[in-house]
């Protein structure tokens, strides 16, 4: 399994040179922020009103930027049929999946690290309970990436696979998006963390179940 993690390092090396995925994710995320900051300019004077829309705006940025990243995740493996070469290596096939999850999750984290301060600046908003907000964003992003990588592998060789990915991904990731948005919203409105624990538990269970299922079925997903 550890040998297989070289695939994630290889992807990071390729991305550090090509910067195809990361740049488009960041630009897209910032563009959404700017559009919303203009559209909601009336709210900017009130922190409580900003708090009501903040969660939605942030998660729209993360989900759509993440979808862009997921669309390109397996593209390097399809070019020159590198996926066949990986499948022939003496590594468990689900280590390919694990590597892709690590790679996209890291990209999403970087995008989030850039997006959150930009949100603060554009919406003139001071985050409270930042640690819990961070934990919810981590859990939500992980669940989204876990499902996304599996579907990305499924559709990559399909015709119009890039169109198919969001169509399949967004409904399947609703069980993670809903608690993530609700928990973030509650935290930003200043609700007590204990009243939001049910959402966090739901996120943990979803992440665990989908990760375990994806690790089990990935071998069959990449079988011709």
């Amino acid at each position: 399994m550890l040998k297989g993690l070289n695939i994630a390092l290889k992807d990071l090396k390729i991305e550090s040179r090509a910067r195809e995925i990361f740049i488009s994710m960041v630009v897209f995320s910032l563009l959404i922020l700017i559009i919303f900051s203009i559209a909601f300019s009336d709210l900017l004077s009130s922190a409580s009103k900003t708090a009501t829309v903040a969660s939605g705006v942030l998660w729209i940025c993360f989900i759509f930027a993440g979808t862009l990243g997921l669309n390109r995740t397996f593209a390097t493996e399809v070019q020159n049929s590198c996926m066949d070469a990986l499948k022939m290596c003496p590594i468990p096939r689900n280590s390919i999946y694990l590597s892709k999850v690590i790679f996209v999750f890291l990209l999403m984290l970087l995008v989030e690290i850039i997006t959150i301060p930009m949100f603060s600046v554009l919406f003139n908003y001071q985050f409270t309970a930042i640690i819990w907000v961070g934990i919810v964003i981590l859990l939500g992003s992980f669940g989204f990436v876990v499902v996304g990588c599996l579907i990305s592998a499924l559709v990559i060789r399909a015709r119009a696979g890039e169109m198919l990915l969001p169509v399949l991904l967004l409904p399947l990731s609703l069980p993670v998006i809903i608690p993530a948005v609700s928990a973030t919203s509650g935290l930003l409105r200043g609700e007590d963390i204990f009243s939001l624990m049910s959402y966090i538990r739901l996120l943990v269970v979803y992440d665990f179940v989908f990760f375990a299922v994806s690790m089990l079925v990935f071998e069959y997903v990449v079988e011709d």
Binding site: K10, K13, T76, A85, M88
Partner: protein, 247 residues
């Protein structure tokens, strides 16, 4: 009726019994039976759609047979990870990452095959020199010509020193020089068992000692390359469409 020969070159390394493979309602392979001995150089020839690539993909464990059993290196229904490090594959697809350098590609695949750091460095140096890309070792593969990519692809296929080399039309897109270099590389280690799909009958007869002639998912002839009837059989299948070459 297939003409079957079993050469006595060494250990049996591959046994296929009644291999069927369907793609939906399309029957790509219809009961393949085959035995491959160590050190053989086998050419698989036949027209398009005969099932050659499907058979090779099954040997490479890229796909599973719909029915039948495959034994490679004595491992029944091969436990993939145990035998994968003894199989290499060279295809007309390069299996290379365009944004990595030649050396990085070899190092990456070497690590996946579990080669230790120092040994891997030495192996990469050796292979890069051998394929004549020493001066371009640190260049990204996207800047390489087709011939250079194919040479690097050959190095990638043998980075782990496999005992069985599967070759799927390795000469596609190569000019005469690159083709001749590839030929030399292939012939260099006779101990390695090679199974090659090719559309070039002359190359098949020159390089290989056994020919599998396939048609409609079956091996219709299994003959030694020195067999006086071999060329007749091969041409009968490849030229069977009113004299038009179908391969």
């Amino acid at each position: 009726m297939a003409t079957i020969i079993y050469s006595m070159m060494g250990e049996t390394i591959l046994v296929a019994e009644d291999i069927f493979r369907d793609y939906g309602c399309l029957h790509a392979l219809n009961g393949i039976n085959l035995r491959v001995e160590e050190g053989e150089f086998i050419a698989i020839i036949g027209p398009n759609g005969a099932g050659k690539s499907t058979l090779l993909k099954i040997f490479a464990s890229l796909i599973s047979p719909t029915e039948g059993t495959l034994q490679i290196f004595g491992t029944k229904d091969h436990d993939r990870e145990d035998v994968q490090d003894r199989i290499g594959m060279l295809s007309h697809e390069t299996f290379l990452y365009e944004n990595l350098t030649a050396r990085e590609n070899l190092v990456f695949f070497g690590k996946l095959y579990g080669i230790e750091h120092t040994a891997l460095d030495e192996r990469c140096d050796y292979l890069i020199r051998k394929i004549g890309l020493w001066k371009r070792a640190e260049d990204p593969v996207k800047n390489f010509s087709r011939g250079m990519k194919q040479r690097l692809s050959f190095a990638r296929a043998i980075i782990h020193d496999p005992s069985l080399l599967l070759l799927d039309e390795p000469y596609t897109g190569l000019d005469m020089n690159a083709s001749s270099l590839m030929e030399n590389l292939l012939l260099e280690n006779p101990a390695v068992t090679k199974i090659m799909i090719t559309h070039d009958l002359d190359k098949a007869f020159r390089l290989c000692n056994r020919l599998l002639i396939m048609e409609d998912g079956n091996i219709v002839h299994d003959v030694g390359a020195n067999d006086p009837n071999a060329r007749k059989f091969a041409e009968a299948v490849c030229f069977s469409d009113g004299g038009q070459f179908k391969c």
